[in-house]
């Protein structure tokens, strides 16, 4: 069995599909594409899937990680699986474990990057609020981006999820609730901090990840392409 780490985008109205429904989105689409999953032990065997940190309902995303154990998976298989996904879901990357026991999924979800904007009005008021949040150590970094919107990096995405922004902006009287704030999670993954450069978040299906290799084009099995 192969341990495969994939990233997916959740776009458009798919952002309203809750985190709890995501495993069946992938297992059903995988079934349609002929993917052979490794099943769990027990009375009701199920495909073994691990998800990354929870993404709240209503937040679109570009690179959400998950892991699955399969008999085999090539780039061609993944393209077929990708086409079997329901509307709004897309695969964005995939790696196969090459060193057994290479880091746990959640252990490698060190940070998350978000795009933030106020809905229907100028997003400038977020600037001061984000500056305060950075001072308070709630976020690592932010900067204004085109749009205009703000690009923001948070460490420990399990703790500092989108709810943090809603809570902090509402506390400061900028928004009333979720409906006033647009959020998009760009990536969840490894935090890269370099001198003189803004910190960035590398998606977990990035091929530079240690202990992982890209999918092969043709038939593969455990141990090599």
């Amino acid at each position: 069995m192969l341990r495969v780490r994939l990233t997916y985008a959740k776009r458009g109205r798919a952002c309203f599909i809750p985190h709890i429904a995501i495993p069946s989105v992938f297992t059903r689409s995988g079934g349609r594409a002929g993917v052979k999953f490794q099943l769990s032990e027990g009375f009701s065997p199920r495909p073994r899937i691990s998800l990354g940190p929870e993404l709240p309902v209503g937040v679109p995303a570009l690179n959400e990680p998950f892991e699955v154990r399969v008999a085999s998976l090539t780039a061609r298989d993944l393209s077929r699986w990708d086409l079997a996904l329901p509307g709004g879901f897309f695969f964005t990357g995939a790696l196969v474990e090459s060193v057994p026991g290479a880091g746990s999924l959640n252990g490698q979800c060190e940070a998350a990057s978000y795009l933030l904007a106020l809905r229907g009005r100028d997003s400038t008021p977020l600037d001061a609020a984000l500056a305060e949040m950075r001072e308070e150590g709630l976020i690592l970094h932010y900067r204004e981006d085109a749009g205009p919107c703000f690009r923001c990096v948070v460490d420990n995405p399990a703790r500092g999820g989108p709810g943090l922004f809603v809570k902090e902006f509402a506390k400061r009287g900028i928004i009333r609730g979720w409906a006033d704030l647009f959020m998009l999670r760009e990536s969840v993954g490894r935090l890269v901090e370099q001198a003189d450069l803004a910190p960035c978040v590398i998606p977990l299906a990035d091929p530079s990840a240690h202990g992982w290799r890209p999918l092969a084009d043709g038939n593969i099995s455990k141990g090599g392409a």
């Binding site: 309203f16 429904a21 079934g31 009701s44 993944l78 990357g93």
Partner: protein, 643 residues
Amino acid sequence: MNRSEETTAREAGFTPRPGAAMPADAEYGDSAWPLLSNVKRSSRYAGCEYGVLPEKSGGGVVRYCLAFPDVYEIGMSYLGFQVLYFLLKSLPDADADRVYCPWTDLEEQMRLQGAVLSSIEGGHPLRDFDVVGFTLQYELSYSNILTMLDLGGIPLLASDRGDRDPLVAAGGAGAFAPEPLAPFVDFFCVGDGEALLPPITDSLSRSAGRPRAERLARLSEIRGVYVPSMVDCEYSPDGVHFTPVDGGRSLPVRRTVVESLDDAFMPNMLLVPSAGIVHDRVTVEVFRGCTRGCRFCQAGMVTRPVRERSPGPLARNIISLVDRTGWEEVGLLSLASCDYSGITELVRTLSPELAARNVRLSLPSLRMDAFSVELAAGMEAMRRGGITFAPEAGTQRLRNVINKGVDEEDFESSLRAAFSRGWDRVKLYFMMGLPTETDADLQGIVDLAARARSIGREYKRRAQVAVSLAGFVPKPHTPFQWEPQLPVDELRRRGRLVKNALADVGRGGVTVKYHEPEQTLLEGVFARGDRRLADVLLSAWRMGARFDGWSEHFSLARWMEAFAEAGVDPSWYAERERPRDEGLPWDHVDAGVDREFLWRERLRSLDGALSPDCRQGGRCVLHGPSCLECGACLPPVEEGSYA
């Protein structure tokens, strides 16, 4: 796409589709987002289904919106819309989309923002379709129909609609007794949708651009189509009388059925939702109709005769659907799947194929006998939950009255089979208020539950018995259509009697739930109602009636106010015994079974006489040895083929 995605794609030979990296404007600019972010379970409105077919372009296409008057997770569990959706998509001159009733929180938001109810796939306002077709599965969802029409920008009353408004259609079980909805609906479809939609589409396609009245007149010529604006009704002491308007087509309106399910349309794909629904599985209908003859059962009467699918092609279709949908479970649907003559062969064929795919098989309805339990015991999906049986009544006398062919021996053997095969929780479903019921029959329910627990404890120390009690609602086109329904207070007394008695014997082993008798009253009124109830419905809806089938929204006080405002006495509809010759509000709809047969069955019920199941070899046999001449039989078919 950012740097790392590009690298991954290039090195791996996998290229993400462009939609993955579309600009965030797509979500930022979605006008529905603020609406959906303020409501519960926004996944209901997200769509994101697999299997959706592209919208057809160009003119000359009749655009249907299939409308389910309840929430998405219930509507998506309804097989009928899955079939009709793909049927319409398969017709060259038809297209289909769907819509479900928004929950009250979204309705409130939509009204605040002036949003129009739109279809789930294309996002088209309901008012822009050619036909908005509701399915009538439950009387307590009727107020939701008005909500959907109103939010969709369609005048509520058919008489207020113009040539540019959609035609509002309705089908399903409620179309067999359609009068309470007659003023809101342009045409009803009585019978099997697979047989009705092609000629309806053809008629609408040919009459495109013609005045509304002319289009409806043409539709009324199709067997199974009822256009209420072309039928007058008069009320007199001897009941309701219907007459065609201006020499329109003759009455009654006869239902249309498919003669052979093997030849009927069966989809080779199903829509797969992304968020959980009530029945989240591949559902296939193994047969239609039932001849067991339970006298309370409307579905068993109006779907006659029995028509089975052949096991071989059915098994192939099921496997294909599993492969195409990716669902993890298959449900075999019918009024009593264990009555399917090919059940053993079907299960034998399917089991290894499904096991190889890690797909479970389930039977939504189980007959009360050891064979059914043994069959279910082999199904992992069935073993996971409790097992449900429906003795319906507590004594043999009353089970004979309702022609429920279950005796004490069946009861005992099914329970022993269930507990011995590993189940530790059994649910028993009963009705209260059946004709001739006495307190002794209610005590019979208590005794059966106690007996079930006792049997269970022989096998399992922690065996549980859950009793479910529902108030009996006499339904049109059944032998009990003339019977009175019990008043709310009496239903409540009987429910409490059973509940208290079970509490005495329960001691943790027996639980009981009974349905709200107030909702039962309303169901009974609308089930056998006439056109005068439309005013009540409209009034109650204006007072705020929504999702009346959901106890958290139901208010009898609101409905009683609406009844009073319209000058209508609900007890006259629900609690009155009808004389034999009274004109009934559904007499103009011919459901297949003869009124005389229903009356004979009623008399037999009062004598406690059982009527046999007339099917032989899985099909109805006209004038066969057990034929009761119900009137619904199709002509005899060749030996070896399935009718």
